[in-house]
Point group: C2
């Protein structure tokens, strides 16, 4: 049984680092671990333009700059597509350095108000994104239908996008269903999908099966064991279109443990140890680097990170709560942790 695990430094292609004090709390967890962190635009107010994305990026890099230990992490900004987004918005954002835009159907998750109500009315936006090579990131849920059917019923939109914009890079984010795995597998290479750590570990039983568990509640909500097994098969399939996007989404405990709890799971600190645990249980530790460090870079045409991270086998001293924010620890005792800075220095 290996006591350490060293892999190419991974990327997190879906992360919420919030704003202000919250960003200051949570951003270092991501930048210490991941080579690239793709930052979601559903802040308040949302990031709608290239100029706003540049301001947000500066806020984040200023926090990293303040840290005692410098990080080489690259932050990837995004803009949010709304019904008012135009081809000119896209061109200006691309000129400002934005390479990814996120589409939320209206009302499907935290801060997704004023999202898109008629996806197909934005064909000129997608065409422009295709032309300027900006990737389309999809929160793939159909609003207004039964909660467990939302992702499956959204897949028709993915098929339409894939058929209509054959050169557009399309990412179906945080997939949760067997049907989504099948559709992504069947579509051409320009369509990929991110998978979170928590959707590889949870089912709906972990949310509402016993007590009501707000810290296991996210959108899309975790589905059945068959769905989870399909996600595990996709994540452990080696070189493929499935890659890590943690959707790490911190909320103050008071926002979760209340009469109307917010959706979102804060997984960044434990994401890689939990993945190592899961891949090891699946006898697929060899595939972890593909899923976490290579498939996403290949999909987006980015260079691979050229350094590594090391995990250490450890069953104690877990991070479970950080300054009022519950940290996801999976559903069973954790078996790996990150190497400490002291350990890293001793090895170098």
């Amino acid at each position: 049984m290996p006591q350490t695990l060293t892999i190419r430094r991974p990327d997190d292609f879906h992360c919420h680092v919030r704003q202000g004090d919250m960003m200051r709390q949570v951003l270092p967890f991501s930048t210490d671990i991941f080579g690239r962190v793709l930052l979601m635009p559903n802040t308040d107010p949302a990031i709608l333009t290239g100029a706003a994305a540049k301001r947000y990026l500066k806020e984040a890099y200023d926090i990293i700059g303040d840290l005692l230990v410098p990080s080489r992490a690259v932050l990837i900004p995004t803009i949010k597509i709304t019904p008012r987004t135009t081809p000119a918005t896209i061109r200006a954002a691309k000129s400002a350095g934005v390479s990814h835009a996120k589409l939320y159907p209206d009302g499907v998750t935290t801060n997704s108000e004023y999202g898109v109500t008629d996806m197909r009315s934005l064909a000129d936006v997608y065409a422009t994104m295709q032309e300027v090579e900006m990737a389309l990131l999809l929160h793939g849920e159909m609003p207004g239908v039964f909660v467990l059917d939302r992702e499956s019923l959204f897949l028709g939109e993915v098929l339409w996008l894939s058929d209509s914009f054959t050169e557009l890079r399309i990412t179906l984010e945080h997939i949760t269903t067997l049907e989504a795995v099948d559709v992504v597998n069947q579509l051409p290479d320009n369509v990929g999908a991110t998978i979170t750590v928590h959707h590889l570990m949870l089912t709906l039983d972990d949310v509402i099966g016993d007590k009501l568990m707000p810290h296991h509640f996210c959108k899309p909500v975790a589905k059945t064991e068959d769905d989870r097994q399909a996600l595990i098969a996709a994540a452990t399939s080696g070189p493929s279109k499935f890659f890590l996007g943690t959707d790490s989404a911190p909320h103050d405990a008071a926002t979760k443990e209340c009469s109307a709890g917010a959706a979102g799971i804060f997984s960044a600190p434990n994401a890689m140890p939990l993945l190592a645990q899961l891949f090891e249980e699946e006898d697929s530790l060899d595939q972890l680097q593909d899923f976490a460090s290579e498939n996403g870079a290949h999909f987006y045409g980015l260079p691979l990170n050229d350094d590594t991270i090391t995990l250490v086998r450890e069953t104690e001293e877990q991070v479970t709560r950080w300054r009022g924010i519950e940290v996801f620890t999976g559903t069973r005792p954790m078996t790996w942790r990150h190497q400490t800075l002291e350990e890293e220095r001793a090895n170098v």
Copy 2:
């Protein structure tokens, strides 16, 4: 549009009134409204014998006795069936005046630990219940399977019970699925079912579809809109085997709004106004008395209550929280309330 609604006094054939201070808080809501209140035995410790049921009944009647306004409500005690229940337990309980016994599969809801793990091993208990005419109340969920399948997969046990004990009075409690409605409809007259107010008004979308809603969380969890429509059809079907059991289940808000929220919805104060609203929306106000005041009495062979209650049309002044306990108010503005004591006196 009628401004008042007077019906035969209803019964609540499934209610949790807890113990001690909590009982003192919640019991009067039920005894003010219902002619009979059937008290669940999953207290802590659980009520396992006729002697314990008599003590519990005394605690409850003492509280009623302390009230300034005397109530004529009849409280119906129950015992909990466990793997250690014997035919002698049943006979002794029956001699002590217990006419209903509740079976919880192990671990399916609040205080259901040490429930039954192998239902069919208790055939001698059911046979004795049949002989002494004690009704069997079932929390109809199969443990250890996917949360949304638990009720459907339990129906095989109901079929077995119905086939094996053709004279045993069997009540499938708080049904939530179209399948349960169908099975109860198809089985002989000795099998009936209770339906709660909240399951007539909620689906899973109201629990996890937007924010996470602990005050809409109960066991069995609310299912789909098709299921809800089947329950409404059963409840509004006039004289039938479907009758009211609110499963009113108060918890301190702190027990619901936390990192592991308890299951249970406190509906007793608003149960009848909400039913009037729903039945009116369904153009079935004529069937309300069957569902709430007659079907259950007929099923258990009890006399009908000989007085009435009156509701008044009212869209304001709703009870939403009572001393730290959230009160169920449905999913839209309420349109009825109970007549006040002053109004009642003025009319008499």
